[in-house]
């Protein structure tokens, strides 16, 4: 069974001593000033604009932050005040976050694709200040202001399209910086004062937990928490000084803040910011990072793209790739199983490095990546093995917003597929009697903003209740099964975690999303969203004509394909938990429809409500259903679409 906990398993991880405690003035700002003093001319940030990389040295970085802080203060920015940051990754938005932190304010980054009506929730603190990337975000903030009266000041980075705006309080970034520079010139002591103002117990950033179970909750992380987490990770050789890093993850996600701002300043990374979200993969090759962090989903996408590219390649190239990849995956599998390395492995791998692995890594831009990480959700076996076989040191780690993203990580000697690694130095892990993972560390946060009830439920006797169900292996490696709240029972009383099964199904490149049903039902069933790119290519190769996603999903050939995937997964599931029936959905789950979160986690209650008709049909034994789909257009209008969906038995 998936959840049973043998008695022999330990409930506490071995605790390694934390690295040296932080000093009194230990903040991101003081570290930034230290970098500007010791490595003034070294490149700190690189930002791609119209094809050219613009570089900021550590001195430029500090200059911008201090000038902006001085300018913000002149506008009336006060301590403890939130500063909304909305947009894709841009150097100036990072400067603004640090400038707000310097004024002892709270930078609050928001996902750029949050629709205007949800924005009010993130801005509930009635922030007076906001910085926006471009016209699109400015429009949203203006809409928010029309409704709530805040934010009063909207600072924008990219002035394109904003020339005709007459709204009050709309200020160009340059103007604020110019005002700040004038103040700095008039008052020579101001710069030093601004750098020293914030203390370790001031907030460094306000983020929101992803909120699979409800509305996102505000998580305020203090400087000392963030720095403690980074030092814990650095002590475990999780990253080193001077890494090349690419900042492309959403700024509102803890991973980006810890890597692109926290660790980047503490350990002097060179952070490169791609031109835009669409060019990330292309720009990655120009950056050639030494440290790369992507979600399991991104690694899957990368693998899918690679496979599509190789399938289209010429026979010789395709044959060579197939031969060497099979070889490398086989070697990697044996190595992970603990087999002793054989001399001929190295010979063949060396040849493969020249012919296949090296060129592929170069195409991905990961030719220099010494440390590759994934976190957030379980990674597929195929994906994990493929990239490790390529020679990338891909490892998993585990963390949550409440603990600055860094709780446990795999080390080189103990890379395994089902574990997320061992506790970082300075982090204590305990498993309670319900199987929930508890954490105690310097890096754990101090409570949710304006939500004492949730804080009381989460922080108990100094331990952080993660809400994750898991167990510790005898050697201290942590295994995460899923959310404690996700454990459900079928009507026959079988316990299971849908997410665990879903992840296994999603390991197939053909499945983009899947929802496993079965809580309170007689058996398990699945709603499958196919992957357009992979299945589309698959159909093209086999001459299956299709017009749209909806059309493709309903092809009998595609049903047979998905059936095969589900049968494969059924093979590793205990008989009562095998999937019996499934339906291919006419569309992919979309965060704009509320079916998944921005980080692509399923919102089960939304799915169960919206597709109740389909679910009932599945359990009623129907072989087909006429479904009325409500769709929301990008303009916010909604319409109704009628779709005939096939329901199929998985079979043996």
């Amino acid at each position: 069974m998936l959840l049973d906990t043998p008695v022999a398993r330990p409930t506490r991880a071995i605790v390694e001593p934390p690295p040296a405690p932080s000093s009194a003035d230990d903040t991101l700002l003081s570290l930034l000033a230290r970098n500007a003093a010791t490595h003034a001319r070294r490149v700190a940030l690189r930002e791609r604009d119209l094809g050219i990389w613009h570089e900021y040295t550590w001195r430029d970085y500090l200059d911008q932050v201090v000038a902006l802080a001085a300018g913000l203060e002149a506008l009336g920015f006060e301590p403890a005040e939130p500063m909304l940051v909305i947009g894709d990754n841009r150097a100036r938005l990072y400067f603004a976050m640090l400038a707000a932190a310097a004024l002892r304010g709270v930078p609050a980054p928001i996902y750029p694709e949050v629709p205007p009506e949800e924005l009010a929730h993130f801005a509930r603190e009635r922030a007076r200040f906001a910085i926006a990337e471009d016209q699109e975000q400015v429009d949203k903030l203006l809409e928010l202001r029309a409704r709530t009266g805040a934010p009063e000041y909207i600072i924008y980075d990219d002035p394109r399209g904003l020339a005709g705006y007459a709204a009050s309080g709309l200020i160009d970034y340059e103007t604020v910086v110019a005002r700040g520079r004038a103040r700095l010139k008039a008052d020579p002591g101001l710069a030093a004062d601004l750098i020293a103002r914030a203390g370790p117990d001031d907030g460094a950033v306000l983020l929101h937990s992803s909120g699979t179970t409800g509305r996102p909750k505000g998580v305020l992380l203090k400087h000392r928490r963030v720095l403690a987490a980074i030092r814990n990770a650095a002590a475990a050789d999780y990253f080193r000084e001077g890494e090349e890093y690419v900042a492309y993850l959403p700024m509102a996600w803890i991973g980006d803040f810890v890597f692109s701002v926290g660790a980047a300043i503490a350990l002097r990374f060179v952070v490169s910011i791609p031109e835009g979200q669409e060019t990330v993969l292309r720009d990655l090759r120009e950056i050639a990072p030494t440290l790369y962090f992507a979600s399991a989903r991104s690694w899957d996408n990368l693998l899918t793209r690679l496979q599509v590219g190789i399938d289209e390649s010429t026979p010789l190239k395709r044959g060579l790739v197939a031969f060497f990849m099979r070889l490398a995956i086989d070697i990697e599998r044996r190595r992970l199983a603990g087999e002793r390395p054989r001399p001929w492995w190295n010979v063949l791998r060396g040849l493969g490095e020249l012919v296949v692995y090296g060129p592929i890594k170069d195409h991905l831009g990961l030719g220099r990546a010494h440390r590759c990480y994934t976190a957030g959700e379980a990674i597929g076996e195929d994906t994990f093995l493929f990239f490790r076989a390529l020679g990338l040191n891909l490892k998993q780690f585990y963390g949550q917003t409440e603990n600055c993203a860094l709780t446990a990580a795999q080390d080189d000697a103990r890379v395994r597929l089902h574990t997320v690694g061992r506790a970082l130095p300075g982090v204590e892990i305990r498993i309670d009697e319900n199987g929930e993972v508890l954490i105690r560390a310097e890096s754990v946060f101090d409570g949710y903003v304006d939500d004492p009830d949730a804080t009381a439920r989460t922080l108990v006797d100094g331990w952080l209740r993660t809400g994750d169900a898991g167990y510790l292996e005898p050697d201290g490696e942590l295994v995460i099964l899923g959310r404690v709240g996700e454990v459900v029972h079928t009507s026959a009383g079988e316990r299971f975690i849908p997410n665990y099964i879903e992840n296994r199904i999603k390991f197939s490149q053909y499945v983009r999303d899947v929802a496993v049903l079965g809580a309170g039902r007689p058996f398990l069933a699945a709603i499958v969203c196919i992957d357009m790119e992979a299945v589309g290519h698959w159909a093209q190769v086999r001459g299956v004509a299709y017009t749209s996603y909806a059309d493709l999903s309903q092809k009998p050939e595609v049903y047979a394909l998905v059936q095969g995937v589900l049968r494969h997964v059924n093979g590793v599931l205990p008989p009562p938990l095998r999937l019996r029936r499934f339906v291919n959905l006419h569309k992919a789950f979309d965060p704009d429809d509320g079916e998944v979160t921005r980080t692509r986690k399923l919102r089960r209650n939304v799915i169960e409500k919206r597709y109740a008709q389909i679910i009932d049909a599945i359990y009623a034994g129907a072989s087909e259903i006429e479904f009325e789909a409500r769709i929301t257009y990008e303009t916010g209008e909604s319409g109704v679409l009628r779709r005939r969906l096939t329901i199929m038995d998985v079979g043996a």
Binding site: I52, W53, A288, I310, K317, V321, I360, D362, G367
Partner: protein, 357 residues
């Protein structure tokens, strides 16, 4: 397979326009330059003087003609005449005691001036008509050189290239002549490589694609056509002088007759219009293929003991050579440069079929 592009990025637009942004290309260029400089030490003198040296000089000449044909799109069937003007001009200049370096420039300027006069024809006529008018130049120059004793020393005469010094060093042996040719070749190559990145090169391309369309977007077709003739003739004159001083060391009018013009055009077309590497490859094929084919056919005839008449034996290589040229035009009209580009792309996108993203 060998190309690594990760980490190639630019912090300015100037860097973005670099000639060889790909590290492997830079290494190739360095290796080629090292080989070229080290060739006298590596090759027997026979190969140096009878293969490598003429190849370099003819590549230089082909580059000059390519500027006109490939970049500016104007045909020229009198290129040998342009080279002849340079050759005779330089020899007479050095005989008059002018230093070789100045004579080289002077020969270029002389060719450019005379070439420019015929270039004016290009302003009025295009295509076949231009071909005929440049052909007229070929015949006129040939006739004048052989019939004016002051230039050629008489119709049957051979004019010896006098001894000369280059940058203060006496150029006497095979090695020093090779290095002079190499230096000129490298200079001309770097000029041509950079032409494509300048406004001049872009204007030429506009004129090539359609002269009146170029005029519509504000490119002075009149000026740039003349500039193209001027530059190309200058380079032709210089390469003619180098050919005379470093390779032939004595000139007769027959060395620059119509056949030679046709060969130069063949080098450009077979090599690849508008391509620097194509000029090298084209010159190599046109110069070396007859020799290689001759040796191959001879060896084959001897090995198979074919009872072929000497007459037949000497014509087979010519037939094969023709087949080779026609084959290239049929199967790769864009020339050897395109063949090279295809091979390069094959490895550039390895192991994929085409560029990703």
């Amino acid at each position: 397979m060998f190309y690594r592009l990760a980490g190639v990025r630019h912090t300015s637009y100037a860097a973005d326009r670099a000639l060889w942004p790909v590290p492997v290309d830079r290494w190739q260029i360095r290796a080629l330059l090292a080989l070229a400089v080290g060739a006298p030490f590596l090759l027997p003198d026979l190969y140096l003087t009878s293969y490598l040296l003429p190849w370099l000089v003819w590549s230089t000449a082909a580059l000059g003609l390519n500027l006109l044909m490939g970049w500016a799109g104007q045909i020229h069937l009198g290129y040998a005449a342009v080279m002849a003007i340079g050759a005779y001009g330089a020899i007479h200049a050095v005989r008059l005691g002018i230093p070789f370096e100045l004579a080289l420039l002077g020969s270029g300027l002389l060719s450019a001036a005379i070439g420019l006069v015929f270039g004016f024809a290009a302003l009025r006529v295009k295509g076949l008509y231009l071909a005929i008018s440049t052909l007229a130049m070929q015949y006129l120059v040939d006739w004048i050189i052989s019939h004016v004793p002051a230039i050629s020393g008489g119709s049957q005469a051979t004019l010896q290239a006098p001894a000369f010094r280059f940058l203060g060093v006496p150029v006497a042996g095979d090695w020093s002549r090779y290095y002079v040719a190499l230096a000129v070749c490298v200079l001309v190559t770097s000029f041509l490589l950079n032409v494509g990145r300048t406004s001049f090169g872009r204007a030429l391309a506009a004129v090539r694609e359609k002269d009146f369309a170029a005029a519509v977007i504000g490119v002075n077709a009149f000026y740039f056509k003349l500039m193209a003739f001027w530059c190309s003739s200058f380079l032709g004159g210089v390469s003619g002088a180098v050919l005379a001083f470093c390779y032939y060391r004595a000139v007769t009018p027959e060395q620059f007759n119509l056949d030679v013009s046709i060969q130069a055009v063949a080098m450009v077309i077979v090599g690849g219009m508008g391509s620097v590497i194509g000029s090298y490859l084209g010159a190599a094929l046109v110069l070396l293929a007859p020799i290689v084919l001759n040796n191959l056919v001879g060896a084959f005839a001897r090995a198979a003991a074919l009872p072929l008449h000497q007459e037949v034996l000497s014509h087979i290589p010519l037939i094969l050579y023709g087949v080779l040229i026609v084959g290239f035009l049929l199967f790769e009209p864009l020339g050897l440069a395109k063949v090279y580009a295809n091979i390069r792309n094959y490895f550039l996108v390895w192991p994929f079929r085409h560029a990703r993203h």
